[in-house]
Symmetry: C2
Subunit: 409 residues, 2 copies
């Protein structure tokens, strides 16, 4: 959690960390600037010192809300630096960063983070290292200092995540109510005016219900039906009519723009009725889902649960990514991922041989077993986001029923 | 524009370019994968060859909509690579990228782009270069190949930008109508139930009107009143009541999630009446705004217009960032910026000594003169986004009136 950062700096032998970028594209910068929207900011945290935030003057008030000491980029006037470097902006930027570090007595190992163009970051940090022998430019492989800190959520974060979870389930409720209010013609749903009720109608409703609650869809949503549900990241065709007896995957992962936290939940349901063969599949997924939730506990390896899901599905005759890494049918993805300021973050519930993560208090993960057979016209997934609180108890943030069939009213 | 990419590769002596990341955080990746949402993708474009897009299997169908040849990461099975590298994920990832480049006969200068952690990008590309002497890892300073390509919009892009511009002005209309529908008590606006009409009410309305049109607020909006309007990036206080005779800056910059393009427009207005001294300031800004729009033409330097605005404001006795780089009052920012897949991109209308950009067909820029005096309780800005079409004619995408006073009905 955030309070671990000073200790993580010590463990990684970092005298300072520098995080640069925009809060909207760097979730690490957003993590240390809670609630503030900043563009072109630089966060400098020296070991044993209070952090300093360098921002553009027009963002000075937003920056102040973070509680960090705020300094302005005008302290390092770009125009002067450009003049001193033959109008070479790259050289000017390297010089500004070098001077900033020198002015703040930074030396030794300095970790660099934040989001940027990959090639630019490479040449920039190389040039910075060459021009400043007093510092050692450190880039970290994953998991870096922020990955580790962010992996465990504190009470403030868990409260924020509970709030967005609750609002998300309200949106699902509104979608179910919309579906139930439609009429049936042949095997398709129609609206009051007789036109087909479509996935586009559902997506429009989701947008309105999210906006009403001040949630945003930073990465869209998935509402896929029939064979489309059989391709995990197929988001659904807008002009497709809602139909009876088809598996519908509704995977919704909104963000609260105030706190920045995501929720992630999936339900698979059938409108009106469920064909017998698909009901069996749905119950299989629900069965392993229940077994996983009953078993998940602090102290166990994350990979254990992916293996548990693979064991179960493979015993039933389905391929998994463990039995066949290239499979595109059966249980064709891993069990889950951390959720936080990114919708996909650490820890991962996969069986990769390098995954030695142990579940611990503060972990928040999605749990999402599923089966996919697009050529047979179906796919299904059940997903909740669960948290381990400070006492290590599992709290299911996605407090929403699992109903296989949505009856029409 | 996009069709310039092959020629830009030749000019920069690049045998290939590699763009890696997520389309939601790398606008360069989004640029070459129009309309697709991808996570952990790699785009490989070799000179004189068709591009190849490497994606996770679960995103294979989304990836196919880009029209690029799609290959799957399962061709480079991570688990095998982890086993071969003592479960060192960093080493495995470096090896995968090296093998991928070798398998596709890439050698010589290769440009790397896309968004990533700055420190990770540094050590990753350094390790890649060391392990693959057949390639020269190139990172570009700004403006890189994508910056230059994206700076000029093609017909498809201009059409997309016109569409989001039109929808944005509809949202402004709805806000003005909301304000006009309120009653007045003392000098504040009140709603039907007698409670104060607040900036929070306006922001909630904006969210609903954007959602109705499937626009998203990737970076929020600004609706700031009185002294808050005097700090350019102050976004406004939700609980502040709307008041008569106060300057209100409404700066809205939504994105169309389908095309990915932004619009950016600002109006400053007063509800009910405008104090005489502030009316003079508003007309001054409108006057230079009109002069700028009348003058802007293909072939002129971008810096010319910032200098023109500085000349004007300085002649009136206001400081500018040219007369005082540290000023936080007066005309305290530059004139404008490119708008496209990022809300702030090239070209820039500033007076920096390295800004030698000449306006050309396909450029789309914001033009936003303003004045700021927070301690005197006011700030104002007028902003439109204008485009130069293929014929070089200026097209004001922000087709919306400039009304200083919003009368109550």
């Amino acid at each position: 959690m955030r309070s671990d950062l000073p200790q993580l700096m010590i463990e990684r032998k970092l005298n300072a960390i520098v995080v640069q970028g925009n809060t909207d594209t760097s979730s690490d910068l957003a993590y240390i600037c809670p609630g503030a929207k900043l563009e072109g900011a630089l966060y400098l945290h020296r070991r044993q010192e209070e952090p300093i935030l360098f921002v553009n003057a027009i963002e000075r008030e937003v920056a102040a809300t973070t509680g960090h000491e705020v300094k302005l980029w005008t302290d390092y006037d770009l125009i002067d630096y450009l003049k001193a470097h033959d109008n070479d902006r790259f050289a000017a930027q390297v010089a500004i960063t070098g001077d900033l570090l020198r002015d703040h007595n930074v030396s030794g190992r300095v970790g660099f983070y934040g989001s940027g163009d990959r090639g630019y970051s490479y040449i920039f940090l190389k040039a910075l290292a060459e021009a400043n022998p007093q510092i050692v430019v450190v880039g970290e492989p994953e998991p870096n200092l922020f990955t580790v800190a962010r992996e465990t959520k504190d009470g403030f974060e868990l409260a924020a995540m509970k709030a967005v979870a609750k609002q998300t389930t309200e949106v699902i409720d509104a979608v179910i109510a919309f579906i139930q209010a439609q009429s049936v013609h042949s095997d398709g749903l129609i609206k009051e005016d007789g036109s087909p009720a479509t996935i586009g109608d559902v997506k429009a409703l989701v947008r309105m219900e999210l906006a009403r609650r001040n949630l945003e869809e930073a990465h869209g949503n998935i509402f896929s039906q029939g064979r489309d549900a059989g391709v995990p990241h197929n988001t659904g065709q807008l002009d497709m009519q809602l139909r009876l007896g088809q598996p519908i995957i509704f995977d919704i992962f909104p963000r609260d723009p105030k706190s920045g936290y995501f929720h992630d939940i999936t339900r698979t349901f059938f409108i009106g009725y469920v064909p017998d063969d698909l009901a069996i599949r749905w119950r299989q997924i629900k069965s392993i889902y229940d077994a996983l939730l009953a078993d998940m506990r602090v102290g166990e390896r994350c990979s254990y649960y992916q293996n548990m899901a693979c064991d179960y599905f493979e015993d039933l005759g389905y391929p998994s990514t463990r039995s066949d890494p290239k499979t595109q049918v059966g249980y064709s993805h891993s069990l889950g991922h951390g959720v936080g300021l990114d919708v996909h973050e650490q820890p991962l519930l996969n069986h990769h041989p390098d995954n030695d993560t142990i579940l611990q208090p503060g972990h928040v993960v999605s749990v999402e077993p599923g089966l996919y057979y697009p050529d047979e016209g179906w796919g299904m997934r059940i997903e909740d986001t669960v948290a381990f609180d400070a006492q290590g108890s599992l709290v299911n943030l996605s407090d929403y029923p699992y109903q296989m069939v949505t009856p029409l009213s």
